[in-house]
């Protein structure tokens, strides 16, 4: 091979390496974007498959008490009473209640849970222990802090306490897994007492809730969450 051809080949290789170096970041960005889209669609599919109904239009309307944050009331929880058609079945009713709570008040300041959080699964064991599996957004979108995390969990506990007497204690899972904390502060390794939640939320040693009974597993339901039957805005009365 002549020196001329060697130089040409070398030049060609240099051009190829430079072109590759320019193109590789573009390629990496495309791969990253594709991975993100894929994970989003998986999350979306999970939500659609597991999302139960918000309220059951066929059922008679009952008084439903929801607990939201109240910046005017020293950032304590405040209750609002609305009339909603809820199921009599405690499992279905719990799911309905939590979905309505997650749908949240119109006023963003009253929210205790991030708007993109979703209930992925919910089980109710015969001993009154409920297991609520929430999406990762609950942990990642919730503002970090003891107060904000306490408000989030307490609003769930007190809302369940007020509307589903069968639920005695609650275990919260994030994305199907036990999490050490909610967003860095509040302990999620134990269960929370629901019936005593008006006083405090007390985590205790977790019960043996590895595999819920098949009968407690939620059946696939309608995929789209329905809006609450009434407009939820200002709190009506204090707890």
């Amino acid at each position: 091979m002549s020196r001329r051809w060697r130089n040409r080949l070398l030049g060609l290789l240099v051009v190829a390496v430079v072109a590759g170096a320019i193109y590789i970041p573009v390629l990496r960005e495309r791969i990253r974007r594709a991975a993100r889209l894929q994970s989003q669609s998986i999350e979306q599919a999970r939500r659609e498959l597991s999302q139960p109904l918000g309220a059951a239009p066929g059922e008679p309307k009952v008084k439903t008490i929801l607990f939201w944050a109240s910046p005017e009331e020293d950032w304590e929880l405040t209750s609002v009473t609305v009339e909603l058609p809820l199921s009599r079945d405690p499992l279905v009713r719990s799911k309905q209640i939590l979905n309505i709570l997650l749908a949240g008040p119109v006023d963003a300041e009253l929210r205790t849970l991030p708007p993109d959080a979703a209930l992925l699964e919910f089980y109710l064991l015969p001993n009154g222990t409920a297991v609520a599996g929430l999406s990762e957004s609950l942990a990642t979108s919730l503002p970090s802090g003891i107060m904000s995390e306490k408000l989030a969990v307490d609003s769930i506990l007190r809302t369940l306490e007020a509307n589903v007497p069968e639920v005695q204690q609650l275990k919260i899972l994030i994305n199907g897994q036990e999490s050490e904390t909610l967003a860095g502060h509040l302990d999620l390794t134990g269960t929370f007492a629901v019936r005593a939640s008006a006083a405090v939320a007390a985590p205790a040693a977790p019960p043996a809730v590895s595999a819920p009974p098949a009968s407690a597993a939620p059946a696939p339901q309608k995929l789209t969450a329905e809006p609450p039957a009434v407009k939820l805005s200002a709190p009506a009365k204090k707890p």
Partner: protein, 271 residues
């Protein structure tokens, strides 16, 4: 020819390395990878032992600036980071406590992030001590302060003199923790208008394994537009905490004189 082969090898190696990087878009940079796999977890800063000549009565305060390292904690507008703020706050609280004669230990002194268990281990190695975890939250009325203890446990709490499960060690010290929390909340509500009069209960993970009277204090909040507001709170918080710990020492020492088990666990009793 040899020169050409060397150049070609070098080019192919460069291209290979670039392509290898492209095939692993999720991988961490090499510096991060080695930090994750080779460097041992950040050790709890070495502290000088509390003076042995003062065995009786409360004399040690373990301050825990929350978060640190890769965990920045709450983040606010203008780049406010909870991990930095609590470190500055800890310095001021430490100075106020040392003025009162307490020996003060810190679970971290720099921007490292010891694990929750490491922090609890440091605290549990002390006798006649209390534990205070310092936080700055994301919500709440700006310029207010809240003090937290763990809530009452479900079932029978373990006894302090007995073996304590690591994750439930605090349950045996809750009575004293509440007294400390109430004293701190009173002092802080006097200094910061809008703060609640009574301490709150929350399942703060950091407090679970601490076998000492333990509280968490949270300032509100990182969402303020002007970080100076939080910095201006620090001397007041430091004074309030020092005042409360001084008052609590009287309660603690009186309980200790009566041999109250909930403040004197047997050595090595936490498992």
């Amino acid at each position: 020819m040899l020169h050409f082969v060397r150049s070609l090898s070098l080019l192919l190696l460069t291209a290979g390395l670039l392509l290898a990087g492209a095939m692993h878009p999720q991988a961490s940079p090499p510096s991060q990878q080695s930090a994750q796999t080779l460097v041992p977890p950040a050790a709890v800063p070495q502290q000088s032992s509390p003076p042995r000549q003062e065995p009786s009565g409360l004399n040690v305060v373990v301050l825990d600036p929350a978060h640190g390292g890769t965990d920045t904690g709450a983040r606010g507008a203008g780049g406010i980071r909870e991990s930095n703020l609590v470190l500055a706050l800890t310095g001021q609280v430490r100075a106020a406590l040392e003025k009162q004669g307490f020996t003060v230990l810190q679970t971290r002194k720099g921007d490292d992030g010891p694990s929750l268990d490491d922090r609890a281990s440091l605290a549990n190695a002390q006798r006649n001590a209390i534990f205070i975890s310092l936080h700055v939250g994301s919500t709440g009325l700006p310029g207010t302060v809240r003090v937290y203890t763990l809530p009452a446990p479900q079932g029978t709490p373990p006894l302090a003199g007995a073996l304590l499960p690591w994750e439930r060690a605090q349950a045996a010290f809750l009575v004293m923790s509440r007294k400390l929390a109430d004293l701190a909340q009173v002092q802080l509500s006097m200094r910061f208008k809008g703060s609640p009069a009574n301490a709150s209960a929350a399942a703060v993970r950091q407090l679970n394994s601490v076998a000492l009277p333990a509280i968490a204090i949270e300032l509100s909040n990182v969402s303020v537009q002007d970080p100076a507001l939080l910095e201006r709170m620090m001397p007041g918080v430091a004074d309030g905490v020092a005042e409360a710990v001084g008052s609590f020492k009287q309660v603690y020492d009186a309980e200790l004189a009566h041999g109250a088990p909930a403040i004197q666990p047997a050595q090595g009793s936490v498992r």
